[in-house]
């Protein structure tokens, strides 16, 4: 579903953040992206949802060239992608429920429908009773889960999650992984950038390691030892 051909990304006045990356990710894969701080994980994700454009190389998403999209095309692309950011990016003036429902309303879901769906997702992520709170009234981990709920509300084909468990305790992290796994069953592709070695070992069906912008390792689990 996703193909990268010799992708290089150099930020202005900086050494390259990604160097000549080529890889292919199939539909329904659960990919972990690891590597030390500054390795280029976030950069890779940003290229996929066209927050940044590659300096060189091509990226195909569902056989569509991501590097050649206009503004309208970028919006259409993003509606099929669920995003979880390292910094959450929640709107402080909206309630938790509205924050999650927003993503659905933007693509044309009615208010009522979106609220019902957001409600269900939030409950699943253990945020019962926080629907009407504003994001700034939540703990770090709670905010992170709201961000995850928002990423999932449109049943995206692809979920890009950047350090989605960085602020979660081990139990909550497991819970979140389980939600991801459930998504995967419906055919969603998941790409998760993370430092959490334990989670990676337990859940990743494919582990891509970056270092200083280069692809240093790409392991795929053959015997399905998926944890429950």
């Amino acid at each position: 579903m996703i193909q990268l051909f010799h992708v290089t990304k150099t930020y202005p006045s900086n050494s390259p953040a990604l160097v000549d990356i080529s890889l292919q990710i199939d539909r329904g894969q659960f990919v972990f992206l690891t590597g030390p701080s500054g390795a280029g994980k976030t950069t890779l994700l940003k290229l996929l949802f066209r927050e940044e454009e590659p300096t060189e190389g091509q990226i195909l998403f569902d056989n569509q060239n991501v590097t050649r999209l206009n503004t309208r095309g970028v919006a259409r692309l993003r509606r099929r992608i669920g995003l979880v950011f390292q910094e959450f990016k929640l709107l402080p003036r909206l309630t938790v429920l509205e924050n999650v429902a927003l993503a659905a309303q933007v693509v044309g879901m009615s208010r009522k429908e979106s609220h019902i769906k957001a409600y269900r997702l939030l409950r699943e992520l253990g945020l019962k009773g926080k629907y009407d709170s504003k994001p700034l009234m939540l703990s770090g981990g709670e905010q992170q889960r709201v961000a995850i709920a928002r990423a999932l509300i449109n049943d995206p084909m692809l979920v890009l999650a950047d350090e989605p468990t960085g602020n979660l305790d081990p139990v909550m992290a497991e819970e979140t992984m389980r939600v991801f796994l459930k998504m995967r069953e419906t055919g969603t592709t998941l790409i998760v950038a993370s430092h959490n070695l334990e989670l990676i070992k337990r859940y990743g069906s494919r582990i891509i390691s970056l270092r200083q912008g280069g692809l240093v390792d790409d392991l795929e689990r053959v015997t399905g030892a998926k944890a429950s």
């Binding site: 949802f49 919006a75 509606r79 929640l90 003036r93 208010r111």
Partner: protein, 302 residues
């Protein structure tokens, strides 16, 4: 845009009006301020033009008759003048009429006329000139022709006024465009900057909308609608201010220039200008938002 998305835009606008009430009040206030100043100039211009029109009517030539002209002779001279193509109409001022007019004009000082014979002033014709001929050289030419008519002793006309008239018309037209243009740009600039500041305060909102895949129109629509609303309200406020200013001017102008009260009758904006101000407010608000928004979206990461 789907119906559900229209409803979404509506909700966002309502939400923003409520949550950022203060910002909206500010933007409307700033626009009101700008449009007020703009409106003051329109008011000035309209009144000047009205004044000019009034004065145009006063481009008249006074032709004094010889003292010994009989009234039937005067009548034939009048008809002859009337038939000239440049002449709008002619009024005959008899000696008695002239005396009475003079008395009125002197007002308090009329006491000095006591003891003078009533027919000391000559009879005359007041000749109003048609619009196309109300320019310096043409009036001059007409006056010299009138002077040659038998029975007419002297011809007088406000030459300076006629010359000034065309000068003022020109100046006001220029001022209108130059000052109007400057003010329009200044207003647009200020509104744009206000909107830009408001955008800066709401940048996460825009960013997140972009990230969840909202279309450009969906992101921009609430801002543009708000801008239009603010602009229209700002226009309304400026009209209110102008009305108060008008009342103030009216009172004080009359008091200040009591003798010319009827001459410089101040008028409020005509409906056309009122509509103009509201439409400019609406457009300024909408366009200001749109422009700032687009530039903001473009230079976003800068």
């Amino acid at each position: 845009m789907k119906w559900s998305q229209l409803a979404f835009v509506g909700r966002r606008v309502r939400h923003s009006l409520w949550e950022l009430l203060w910002n909206h009040v500010l933007t409307s206030g700033t626009m009101a301020m700008s449009l007020f100043v703009f409106g003051v100039f329109i008011l000035l211009q309209e009144n000047l033009q009205h004044l000019l029109k009034g004065w145009g009517d006063q481009v008249q030539i006074n032709a004094y008759l010889d003292t010994n002209v009989a009234s039937n002779e005067a009548q034939s001279i009048l008809e002859r003048i009337q038939s000239l193509p440049e002449v709008e109409h002619v009024r005959h001022i008899s000696k008695e009429q002239a005396w009475r007019d003079f008395q009125t004009a002197l007002g308090a000082q009329s006491a000095v006329l006591e003891g003078l014979p009533v027919d000391v002033l000559p009879a005359s014709f007041e000749i109003a000139v048609k619009v196309p001929s109300r320019s310096g050289p043409l009036v001059e030419e007409l006056a010299s022709r009138l002077e040659k008519i038998e029975g007419i002793a002297a011809v007088e006309y406000p030459q300076e006024w006629v010359e000034r008239l065309s000068l003022i018309v020109l100046a006001v037209q220029w001022a209108k465009w130059v000052l109007g243009g400057i003010l329009f740009v200044a207003t647009f600039f200020i509104v744009g900057s206000t909107v830009r500041l408001a955008l800066l305060a709401r940048k996460e909102e825009i960013e997140i909308m972009q990230l969840v895949g909202a279309s450009e129109e969906l992101i921009q629509a609430p801002f543009v609608l708000e801008g239009m609303l603010q602009g229209t309200i700002g226009g309304g406020l400026s009209l209110l201010g102008l009305w108060l200013f008008y009342l103030f001017l009216q009172q004080h102008f009359f008091l200040a220039f009591p003798l010319f009260g009827s001459m410089i009758q101040i008028r409020f904006l005509d409906p056309h200008s009122i509509a103009l101000l509201l439409v400019i407010g609406l457009l300024l608000g909408g366009m200001g938002s749109l422009f700032s928004l687009r530039r903001f979206l473009r230079t976003w990461r800068g």
